[in-house]
C-alpha cells in the first residue's frame, strides 16, 4: 500500500502535455463493479456514497447511469474534492438501481450536474468533517488547527499526521454534521474540479474488458432475438413456430402478445431463444409472421408533409404565446419574409444496439441493463409482468451511447418477459436493423414562419406555426423579445414512436429559429451576429416558466465573436461563417461554424467555435470539452445526411449503409471556450448541440447564398452530402 501511495503521489504531479493545447492531469482512479470490494470491510461509511477502509482505500459510488456523458467520473469527483482525497486514491463503484438509497438515478436532461452538484459537495464535506473531528478527539487538539490533503489529516504544530484510513474507525463514532450547514470549501481552493481528468473506465475500455450491457454473461444464459412488426405496433396473427423450433440451437420460440396498447408498453412480436445469438438470429431468417392490419400502415413521409401543410392553413390547436398584433405589424412593416422549415425523424443510432439480460427465478427478477432510466424500467416491468418492484434487481451497466434512446425501457421489458417464458437467464440483443426500425425517433417537425423588419432593421413581427408533437414551450426564444409575436401549434396525430433525442425539442427548434433569424438579418442588411446581440437587448427579466437570461447569452455571443475572429478576419475564399445560439438544459451556447461548399456541392466544415456558459464550475474539463466536441460532430452528422423516412407505416432505413454517420474524413476541429459566471453549475451532455446545425446552415448561406430550410442537407446542393 505504501508503495502504491508513493506512485500515486508522483503521478499526481505528472502533467501530460496534450496535443492541441491544454494539459491533462495524469491521475487515475480505478473502478470496481458493485460488490467487488466487500462493503462490510469498511469501518467508515458516513453515507451511501462513501466508504473508507482502515488501509485508506476510498470507494465512492457513482449513482447515475454512464452513457458516455462522463458522470461516472464527474459526480464522484465532486465528492472527492470536498472530501479532500487525491483522485488516485479513489475507487469508483457503479451503484445498483436503488432510489431509496441514492435518490433519483437517471441520465437525462443534462440533469446529473445540477441535481447533484451541491449535494455531492456536502456528502464529501460531511465525511471530511467527521474525519477531522476524529483526529481532533484522538490528539486532543482543536479542530481549527487541523488541515487535510490527500486523505490525510495533519496537525502542523505537533507534526502529527494520520490517514483517513487510520481515522476511519473513530470517525464512524463521531456525530454526523447537518448536511445543510456543513462547511464547504471556497471554490477558489479546489484542487480537482475544473481540471482535465481521464475517465475512470479508460483502462478497461482500451483493453477490451467487459463493461457494457452486451457483454453481460450469466451462468446458463441463453440468447434471444425478438421480431416485431415492421408497421409499428401491429400484433401477431400467426408464425411458423414449429419450423423455427427445429432450427439448430433453438430452445424456445413463442409469440408475445404485447401488453398495453401504447407504443411504450411491451410490444407484440415473436421471440426466438437459442444457445447462441448466432443460432437465434440464423433461425430468424426462416421466420414467417403474419401481422395484423394496422392503421399506421397508411402513413408515410409524404403523408406527413401533406398533412402538415393542410394543418398549417387551418386554425391552430393551441396558441402558445401571443403578444401585440402580428397582422397589423406585418401590414406596416418594411420587409416581410416567409419560410417553411422542416426537420425529419432521426434515429438515436447508439452504437451499442439495444439489449438487456434478465433472469427470473423464484418469483424474483434480476436485470442487467444499459438503461438511462432504471426506476421507470422497474415500474414498467413490474406493471407489465405483475412482479413487485422490490423483487426486481437492476444492475446498471456501462451504456454504449444513449442520446435519449435508453430513457425508454422497451428492450428491458422484452428481455424480462422472454426470460420468464424461457425459464432461464436470457440475453436479448436487437440487431442493428431492429434498433433502427424500432426507434423512439426524434419527432419530425414543420415550422411555418413569417417575420418582418422595420426601416431601421429591427424585427417588428414574428409568427411561427409549428406542426409537430405539442412540445413547444411558452418561453421559447424569441418570445418576449419581439413586440408582435405569435407562436401557435397544430398537432399531427400519427403512429410513429417518438421520444427524446439529445436536446429534445431544441435540436429541431434551434435549426428553424436560428436560421430564420439569419434570414431576417440578411433582409435587414445587418451583420448576423450583431443583429442577434441587438435582438437580445434589452434583456427581459426571467419570469416563471422562462429562465432565459439574455445577458448570459450575450456573454457567450461576444465570446464566440472574439474567438472566431468574426468581423475582424476575412475567411478564406469560398468559406462562409455562420453563427447561432440556443438556450437549453440551463446552458447558454453560441457557436460559429466556418464552412465551404465545393464545386460539386460537397459541404466541408473547417472549424467550429463553441462558447458556453454552464455556470460557476466545470467539474471535469476533459469531459466537458469532449461533450462539446461530440455534440458538434453529432449535430453536423445529423444535418448532413440523417433521416428516417416512413413508407407504409414502417421505417425504411435499417443500417449505417442507408443512415450515414459522420466519419473521420469529414470531422473538423472544435474549439471550446467556457465563460465562467456566478451561476449554479449545469450539465454538458446536450446544450452544445442545438446551435451547431443552424450555424452550419447559416455558414452555407454565407458561402453560397443558398438557404437550407429542410434537413438533412442531403443532395440539396447537388451532391450527396452525408
Amino acid at each position: 500500500m505504501a508503495d502504491s501511495l508513493q506512485t500515486d503521489r508522483r503521478s499526481f504531479l505528472q502533467v501530460l502535455a496534450v496535443v492541441g493545447g491544454g494539459v491533462m492531469f495524469g491521475i487515475h482512479a480505478r473502478d470496481a463493479e458493485a460488490g467487488e470490494l466487500e462493503p462490510g470491510a469498511a469501518p467508515f461509511a458516513p453515507n451511501a456514497f462513501i466508504r473508507i477502509t482502515s488501509d485508506n482505500r476510498i470507494t465512492l459510488i457513482a449513482k447515475n447511469p454512464e452513457e458516455g456523458q462522463g458522470v461516472k467520473q464527474s459526480l464522484p469527483m465532486i465528492i472527492c474534492e470536498e472530501l479532500d482525497a487525491d483522485w488516485s486514491q479513489i475507487t469508483v463503484e457503479q451503484a445498483l438501481s436503488d432510489e431509496s438509497k441514492y435518490g433519483r438515478q437517471f441520465a437525462g436532461g443534462s440533469l446529473s450536474t445540477p441535481m447533484n452538484y451541491d449535494n455531492h459537495r456536502r456528502l464529501g464535506a460531511a465525511a471530511r468533517a467527521m474525519l477531522v473531528a476524529a483526529a481532533a478527539k484522538t490528539w486532543n487538539v482543536p479542530v481549527g488547527e487541523l488541515t487535510t490533503v490527500r486523505a490525510q489529516v495533519s496537525h502542523n504544530a505537533s507534526g502529527r499526521r494520520a490517514t483517513y484510513g487510520q481515522l476511519a474507525a473513530t470517525a464512524a463514532t463521531m456525530p454526523a454534521p447537518d448536511l445543510a450547514t456543513v462547511a464547504l470549501k471556497d471554490p477558489r481552493t479546489f484542487r480537482l474540479l475544473g481540471k482535465r481528468v481521464p475517465g475512470v473506465d479508460n483502462r478497461k475500455i482500451v483493453t477490451g474488458k467487459p463493461l457494457f450491457g452486451i457483454d453481460v454473461v450469466v451462468p446458463g444464459m441463453l440468447h434471444a432475438v425478438f421480431e416485431k412488426s415492421p408497421v409499428f405496433g401491429a400484433t401477431v396473427v400467426s408464425a411458423n413456430l414449429a419450423t423455427i423450433r427445429r432450427q439448430p440451437g433453438v430452445k424456445h420460440a413463442f409469440i408475445v402478445d404485447g401488453v398495453g396498447t401504447a407504443l411504450d408498453g411491451l410490444m407484440p412480436g415473436v421471440a426466438i431463444v437459442a444457445d447462441t445469438w448466432y443460432n437465434a438470429k440464423t433461425a430468424r431468417e426462416k421466420l414467417q409472421v403474419k401481422w395484423a392490419e394496422h392503421p399506421t400502415a397508411k402513413q408515410s413521409t409524404e403523408w406527413f408533409a401533406q398533412t402538415a401543410k393542410e394543418l398549417s392553413a387551418k386554425p391552430a390547436d393551441r396558441v402558445v404565446r401571443k403578444d401585440g398584433d402580428v397582422d397589423a405589424a406585418f401590414a406596416a412593416a418594411t420587409k416581410v419574409v416567409e419560410a417553411e422549415y422542416f426537420y425529419p425523424f432521426i434515429s438515436h443510432a447508439t452504437l451499442e444496439p439495444q439489449n438487456c439480460t434478465a433472469h427470473f427465478k423464484d418469483g424474483k427478477l434480476e436485470i442487467w441493463a444499459p438503461t438511462q432510466m432504471p426506476q421507470p424500467g422497474r415500474e414498467l416491468v413490474s406493471r407489465t409482468m405483475g412482479i413487485a418492484p422490490q423483487d426486481i434487481t437492476i444492475h446498471l451497466t456501462r451504456i454504449g451511447g444513449g442520446f435519449g434512446r435508453r430513457l425508454k425501457n422497451d428492450y428491458m421489458v422484452e428481455a424480462a418477459w422472454i426470460a420468464r417464458e424461457a425459464g432461464a437467464p436470457v440475453k436479448l440483443l436487437w440487431t442493428r436493423e431492429d434498433d433502427m426500425r424500432h426507434g423512439h425517433y426524434r419527432p419530425a417537425g414543420f415550422h411555418f414562419l413569417k417575420g418582418a423588419v422595420d426601416a431601421s432593421g429591427k424585427i417588428v413581427a414574428w409568427k411561427n406555426r409549428v406542426v409537430v408533437e405539442p412540445y413547444m414551450r411558452l418561453g421559447e426564444f424569441p418570445g418576449r423579445y419581439i413586440a408582435n409575436y405569435l407562436l401557435e401549434t397544430s398537432t399531427l396525430a400519427h403512429g410513429v414512436p417518438t421520444g427524446a433525442l439529445r436536446a429534445p425539442g431544441s435540436n429541431g427548434i434551434a435549426f428553424a429559429i436560428q436560421s430564420f433569424i439569419d434570414e431576417l438579418a440578411h433582409a435587414a442588411d445587418k451583420d448576423p451576429l450583431q443583429f442577434r446581440l441587438d435582438l437580445l437587448t434589452p434583456a427581459m427579466p426571467p419570469v416563471q416558466g422562462d429562465a432565459f437570461n439574455a445577458e448570459r447569452m450575450r456573454g457567450v455571443l461576444e465570446l464566440v465573436r472574439e474567438k472566431s475572429g468574426w468581423g475582424t478576419r476575412t475567411p478564406a475564399k469560398g468559406h462562409g461563417l455562420g453563427v447561432a445560439f440556443h438556450f437549453s438544459h440551463q446552458g447558454y451556447f453560441a457557436e460559429v461554424v466556418e464552412a465551404s461548399v465545393g464545386a460539386r456541392g460537397e459541404v466541408k466544415v473547417h472549424r467550429v467555435w463553441v462558447a458556453g456558459d454552464v455556470g460557476s464550475q466545470i467539474t471535469n474539463l476533459s469531459g466537458a470539452e469532449n461533450q462539446c466536441q461530440g455534440s458538434c460532430i453529432d449535430g453536423v452528422s445529423a444535418a448532413l445526411g440523417q433521416e428516417i423516412t416512413i413508407t407504409d407505416g414502417r421505417a425504411v432505413q435499417g443500417n449505417f449503409d442507408s443512415y450515414p454517420l459522420l466519419r473521420m474524413a469529414r470531422a473538423f476541429p472544435v474549439e471550446v471556450h467556457f465563460k465562467i459566471t456566478d451561476n449554479p453549475p449545469t450539465g454538458m451532455g446536450e446544450p452544445a448541440l442545438p446551435p451547431v446545425i443552424p450555424a452550419l446552415c447559416n455558414a452555407i448561406f454565407a458561402a453560397t447564398g443558398k438557404r437550407i430550410r429542410s434537413l438533412p442537407i442531403g443532395d440539396q446542393l447537388g451532391y450527396q452530402n452525408s
Binding site: G68, V206, G208, L351, G400, G401, D657, R663
Partner: protein, 168 residues
C-alpha cells in the same frame, strides 16, 4: 465442424457452424467481449480485429475463412494497456461511451504499423470506423501521440513488455 486457429497467440479449436462470423465466435464462444457488434454488415468497424496481421471487420468473416490463421483482438494487444496506442487513448481521454474504441484502436494499430508518422490524409483514409459519440478529434490526436511516443527503432505497434500477440 472443428476449426483450428490461433487467437492472441494461443492455438484454439472451436466447434461451430462454418458460416458463423468470427465476431460471434470471439464474443460468444471464446468469451472475448472486447470486440464489439455495431452493424453486422461491415459498416461501422466496431468489430475490427487483426487477421494475419491485417485489420478486418470480423462480423463479415465466416469462421471457416479464418481457419488456420492468426487473429489478434483488443485483448491480445496488451492486457494491461501498455501498448503505445492504448496508452495514448487513455492519456488523451479519447472515449465517451467507449463502445467503438476497441475497433478504433485495432485500426489505428494497423495504420501505425504501416506508416510510422501518418499524415492527416493517411488518418482519414485508414480510420473509417464510426464513432457515434464523435471523438474523432481525440482519436486523431491519440494516433499522433502514439506515433511520437513509440520507442525509437521499434515498431510503433509494439512496445517492450507488451503481452505477446499471435500474428506476424
Amino acid at each position: 465442424m472443428p476449426i483450428s486457429l490461433t487467437i492472441n497467440g494461443k492455438p484454439t479449436t472451436v466447434d461451430v457452424p462454418p458460416e458463423m462470423p468470427l465476431l460471434w465466435v470471439l464474443r460468444d464462444v471464446l468469451n472475448l467481449k472486447g470486440t464489439k457488434y455495431g452493424c453486422g454488415i461491415s459498416q461501422c468497424g466496431a468489430c475490427t480485429v487483426h487477421l494475419a496481421g491485417a485489420p478486418v471487420r470480423s462480423c463479415g468473416i465466416p469462421i471457416s475463412a479464418a481457419s488456420g490463421m492468426s487473429i489478434t483482438t483488443i485483448e491480445g494487444l496488451s492486457a494491461t494497456g501498455s501498448h503505445p496506442v492504448q496508452k495514448a487513448w487513455e492519456q488523451l481521454d479519447v472515449a465517451q461511451c467507449g463502445y467503438c474504441q476497441a475497433g478504433q484502436i485495432m485500426t489505428a494499430v494497423s495504420l501505425l504499423r504501416n506508416k510510422k508518422n501518418p499524415t492527416d490524409a493517411d488518418i482519414d483514409a485508414a480510420m473509417q470506423n464510426i464513432c457515434r459519440c464523435g471523438t474523432y478529434n481525440r482519436i486523431r490526436d491519440a494516433i499522433r501521440l502514439a506515433a511520437r511516443s513509440a520507442p525509437a527503432g521499434a515498431t510503433p505497434a509494439r512496445a517492450p513488455g507488451d503481452d505477446l500477440t499471435g500474428e506476424e
